[in-house]
């Protein structure tokens, strides 16, 4: 317990110091509160608009969770295809790289008119942005597998598929999970892009839409800051949740506790 406290202390202290400095800066008149609302007004707005924030958070969480699942599955499958078939590497890899230069803010409304005004076009945008880190790290992970290891599996009469399943796949898993972590961090901003640039039906369109509405039509900068704070907390929380999953799935690749490195 004491140890956990010691781990939590530095980040909490830094956060409190940053918020305190921000509060002081605004209170002492360093900046117009319309441009940068003080933390206390952000907190009180978050409290009074809690219901709205919560509904929009659920919408964004769903988009990120499903979009990320899609991205990780597709990114991983693509990496495997690239690894196993050279023609795929030569033909598809350049397209995957190019896909990251697409103007997603323009693409999103087009997708909405194509795929409907529900969640689907947003998932496509999140998927398109987030698959890439998974693909790159997984391809590198698969390429880094010890060729002697594969050779050994072959002398044990492993088929190509078995060599992949018993040797290459688990060996590449830590790299794939690193890619998933990067994808998770990018997922929030890609959800923001998807929400704010595609037309949506229904009363709740996610945190991204709430933030832009607060900034524009409703002139509610504290509300926008509150929405941003929720995104901020979500991003950090999910990153560490994924790290926990990583420890379970590929703990063998992490340094042992108490090991001096």
């Amino acid at each position: 317990m004491r140890r956990r406290l010691a781990i939590m202390l530095p980040p909490l202290a830094l956060l409190i110091a940053l918020i305190g400095a921000w509060e002081l800066y605004v209170d002492l008149g360093g900046v117009d509160p319309v441009l940068l609302p003080a933390p206390h007004s952000v907190a009180s707005t978050a409290w009074s608009e809690a219901g709205l924030l919560w509904r929009n958070t659920l919408v964004t969480l769903k988009e990120v969770a499903l979009g990320l699942a899609l991205a990780v599955a597709a990114g991983f499958a693509l990496a495997v295809a690239i690894h196993l078939w050279h023609p795929v590497r030569r033909s598809v890899y350049p397209l995957a790289i190019g896909s990251q230069a697409l103007p997603f803010a323009v693409l999103a409304p087009v997708l909405a008119f194509w795929l409907g005004f529900g969640i689907l076009p947003k998932l496509v945008v999140i998927g398109l942005i987030c698959f890439f880190p998974v693909t790159v790290t997984t391809v590198d992970g698969l390429n880094a597998v010890d060729p002697d290891q594969v050779k050994l599996l072959r002398t044990l009469d492993a088929s190509r598929w078995q060599a992949f399943r018993f040797g290459e796949l688990p060996a590449a898993l830590p790299a794939a999970l690193s890619g998933a972590r990067i994808a998770l961090v990018v997922a929030w901003i890609s959800a923001f892009i998807a929400e704010t640039s595609s037309p949506t039906v229904g009363p709740y369109a996610g945190l991204g839409r709430e933030i832009t509405t607060d900034i524009g039509a409703s002139v509610n900068p504290a509300g926008a800051a509150a929405g941003t704070a929720v995104l901020f907390v979500c991003s950090i929380t999910f990153f560490y949740l994924l790290s926990l999953a990583e420890h379970r799935l590929a703990g063998w690749a992490q340094p042992q506790q108490g090991e001096n490195r």
Binding site: D148, L152, T155, L156, Q256
Partner: protein, 266 residues
């Protein structure tokens, strides 16, 4: 009476017509040569006119200086490479590589049982079948340990058991104890001698340790530096277990060392 592993595992089915050496699980190499092209485009002759044989369930120890093509020799026997000239007759062989190449994400037991899983057993069945031998080989209590938690000697035991459980009648061991400290190596040599007594196989043991070759081999082939040629073959007809300070062992060791020394001179 079939050995334990043979009871556990069906012998590999070898399709097509079999030669004598294949049927009897012996090994026969006739005037085998093998060359490579290295990175700078030069041709490197690894083996030249190598003729060797091992009778079924015999241990053939191959000693030679580093870079005499010993690893190439094993890869040829295992079918990982094809010779440029000459021919090789051998039953399907399992390789125990110089580095243990245990899978770091698998427990020791699961690493040993890997060939059984490759043969189509479920993880659970494979574990159950591997367990009795796992314990017999002195690994009792380390089932759940991961390779990073095992000592060098233990890792080699697991790697050897994995090779054994492949069910193949020919085992190719590539400097299995080369990376171990002297004391562990001596323990492992006696251990291997005991295991082979219980689980006899045709073994090609590649080593740079002359004493190891004389202690474990039924026959010792001494090889020259690159290009590797067999410069002397010694029959070791000493009873087992052999003692490293036994005067016959010492005499044979001297003889092999002398042959090695002669091979080094240009």
């Amino acid at each position: 009476m079939p050995s334990r592993v043979q009871q556990l595992i069906r012998p590999p089915v070898v399709g097509g017509p079999q030669t004598d050496a294949e049927q009897s699980s012996g090994i026969l190499l006739r005037q085998v040569s093998r060359s490579f092209t290295d990175r700078s485009g030069r041709t490197v002759e690894a083996l030249r006119d190598v003729s060797l044989h091992a009778r079924p369930q015999e241990v053939l120890a191959v000693v030679g200086p580093s870079g005499c093509g010993k690893t190439t020799l094993l890869e040829l026997i295992c079918g990982l490479q094809a010779p440029d000239a000459g021919n090789i007759q051998s039953a399907s062989a399992a390789l125990m590589p110089q580095r243990d190449l245990l899978l770091p994400w698998r427990s020791a037991l699961d690493n040993a049982a890997l060939p059984l899983q490759i043969a189509g057993l479920s993880r659970k069945q494979a574990r159950a079948q591997a367990l009795p031998l796992f314990c017999e080989l002195g690994l009792d209590g380390f089932e759940q340990a991961h390779p990073s938690e095992l000592s060098g000697g233990m890792r080699q035991r697991v790697a050897f058991l994995r090779t054994l459980l492949s069910g193949k009648r020919v085992l190719c061991l590539d400097e299995p104890f080369g990376a171990l400290d002297a004391i562990t190596r001596m323990q492992m040599q006696s251990w291997l001698a005991r295991v082979l007594e219980h689980e006899p196989r045709t073994v090609v043991l590649v080593t740079h340790d002359v004493e190891e070759a004389v202690l474990l081999g039924d026959r010792v082939a001494v090889m020259s530096p690159r290009p590797g040629r067999v410069i002397q073959e010694l029959e070791i007809e000493l009873p087992r277990p052999r003692d490293r300070v036994d005067e016959d062992v010492v005499a044979l060791r001297e003889q092999a060392l002398k042959a090695l020394g002669a091979g080094e001179r240009p």
